[in-house]
Amino acid sequence: MKVFRLSDGRIVQIIDKDKIQKWDPATPALFVNYILDKKIESYGSSKDQAEIRAYLNEILEEIAVPKLTNALKSPDPNVRLTIAKNLVDISKKKADMVKGVLSFLQDAERNEKEAGIKANIAQVLKNYDKAVKRKQYEAKRKKMRELDEMLKTGKISADDYVKERKEFLVLGVETGAEEE
């Protein structure tokens, strides 16, 4: 493990690059994205975070991106199909995880000739998009409760309320979520 001693005395340990090198093509990028998304903010000062970000960038540049792009550009359609299917599974369970590889997937979708593989990559992007919209929908749902109260007390005009309500309903349809 690579040991980081933070300025407040805490210790953070992150898996060594040589071990990540043995992972399947999709996981290193997902791992980097996971740490950046969920953990980095808890890693002490901005100086500490910068040091860990630098290590994550090394993983991204030296391992994650080459592995992913090699797999997505592989001449063997089975390799491309396997990784696309893996990414579909991951995006179904935790769509946030594919955030860091979106640009590679968009390129791959554009360049892919095999319909089956193209459809899988498109599904990953769709799952991510849907998850983003679902988050927006949840935030909007919360906001609508406040707006309902504001409408009752006359703190918001009926026109403004209707505008917000329409956006909420559209998001609900797009995400397939039911109205509360």
Binding site: M1, V3, G9, R10, I11, V12, Q13, I14, I15, K19, W23, D24, A26, T27, L30, F31, Y34, I35, K38, K39, S42, Y43, N86, D89, I90, K93, M97
Partner: protein, 404 residues
């Protein structure tokens, strides 16, 4: 029900004590890192070399064994297999590393012999099953293996013995044969793991924690900001810490063995200890069985001595509940239980063990136990209040480095 009593001792500033505890842990971590850097583990002379190997290597080994049997049959029509003896006379205590290991004594099992034909048939069947599991990259439990041919094995103890025999024949550990035992342990706290392409955060598993999987070959430690590991015998005590999210205040990983430690739990603990190099502590009942459970984590069991290097955690410390803690932490008399004959016998057996005798602090605590003939559960500390364990006992034990 124990009477509630006030905790003893002068009032301590919790923040100052926490700071001291964290300093003790960080010093222990730096010391352990230094020791690990200097460590070069060498098996003692005459010990069987056993390795944890990937599925493809284990598969090749099963094919090699089958081929050697085939060659013997083609050559002489008779065949035998050399199986390392797992009897107590072939168990070596590695004093330097505090491990129980298997010696190199072999038993030759002949197929054309009335005494061993049944054993051999069962063993060959296990070889076939393991070969199939490894080829298909799937796992099976010991129970499933038994049910694969009930007429042949008759009782599960026979298939279990053959599984262990085959592991030693292949010079590997049982997990490398893709035969696993069901696991009961749980883990929670500051640890992130990878299970194939899933990333699992052990801080986000609810108060129940992550059920330790028997398929540990799929699991990898990927990130942690823990500074120590706490293994707890009792699930009730682990739940107390989990509910309080104790790892947030004291950066740790909590493992609940739920009684006697199963293989997966011990292997997972060993892996954390080896990879993260952080101090590791054990919290058990203050009784001979608690000390025995600690010894299993520490140096492995005699039954699975050939797997000790992969299951034992030789630098785990016994944090509590020590016999001397009963008075130091004022465990009320009504919460203590008199030791019975079995307890006294087990305590004496522990005192006779060579790995205990080389640790004077351990001997002293067991001798005190023999003297006062009293035992107490971890939960007896709650006589001082339900939060006493998390807010007083554990912080104080760590801050004063009071462990064995």
């Amino acid at each position: 029900m124990c009477a509630k009593k006030a905790a003893i001792g002068p009032s301590v500033d919790p923040a100052a004590r926490k700071e001291k505890a964290i300093k003790v842990l960080r010093d222990a971590f730096e010391q352990k890192l230094k020791e690990t850097a200097q460590l070069s583990y060498q098996l003692p002379q005459g010990a069987l070399v056993v390795d944890e190997i990937p599925a493809d290597a284990a598969f090749k080994k099963t094919v090699e064994v089958a081929k050697s049997l085939y060659d013997q049959i083609m050559e002489s029509g008779r065949f035998a297999l050399d199986v390392p003896s797992r009897s107590s006379t072939n168990i070596i205590y590695d004093e330097n590393n505090d491990l129980l290991l298997l010696g190199e004594k072999m038993n030759r099992k002949w197929f054309h012999s009335l005494t061993s034909v049944e054993d051999m048939t069962q063993l060959i069947k296990i070889l076939e099953i393991v070969n199939q599991l490894l080829e298909k990259r799937i796992h099976a439990t010991k129970r499933e293996v038994f049910y694969n041919d009930v007429n042949l094995f008759k009782e599960q103890v026979n298939s279990d013995n053959c599984i262990e025999d085959l592991s030693t024949v292949l010079n590997t550990i049982r997990n490398s044969t893709n035969i696993v035992a069901s696991a009961v342990g749980k883990a929670v706290g500051r640890l992130r793991i990878r299970d194939q392409s899933d990333i699992i955060d052990l801080e986000a598993m609810g108060s129940g924690g992550w059920a330790i999987t028997p398929f540990l070959d799929n699991v990898e430690i990927i990130e942690s900001d823990a500074e120590f590991v706490l293994v707890i015998e009792k699930d009730a005590a682990a739940m107390r810490l989990s509910e309080a999210k104790w790892w947030k205040e004291y950066p740790c990983i909590i493992i609940s063995g739920r009684g006697a430690a199963d293989i997966a739990t011990r292997m997972f603990l060993k892996r954390i200890n080896k990879i993260l190099n952080i101090p590791t502590f054990c919290l058990v009942d203050s009784d001979p069985y608690g000390h025995y459970i600690y010894s299993i984590y520490l140096r492995g069991s005699k039954k699975l001595s050939y797997e000790s290097p992969f299951l034992a955690t030789p630098n785990i410390h016994l944090l509590g509940v020590l016999t001397r803690d009963l008075d130091s932490y004022n465990v009320p008399k009504e919460c203590r239980i008199s030791m019975n004959k079995t307890d006294i016998k087990r305590c004496q057996e522990m005192l006779n063990e060579s790995f205990v005798q080389k640790n004077p602090r351990w001997v002293a605590d067991l001798e005190l136990m023999m003297k006062i003939k009293e035992k107490a559960e971890i939960q007896s500390l709650s006589a001082h209040g339900f939060e006493y364990l998390t807010s007083e006992y554990l912080p104080s034990k760590i801050a004063t480095a009071d462990w064995i």
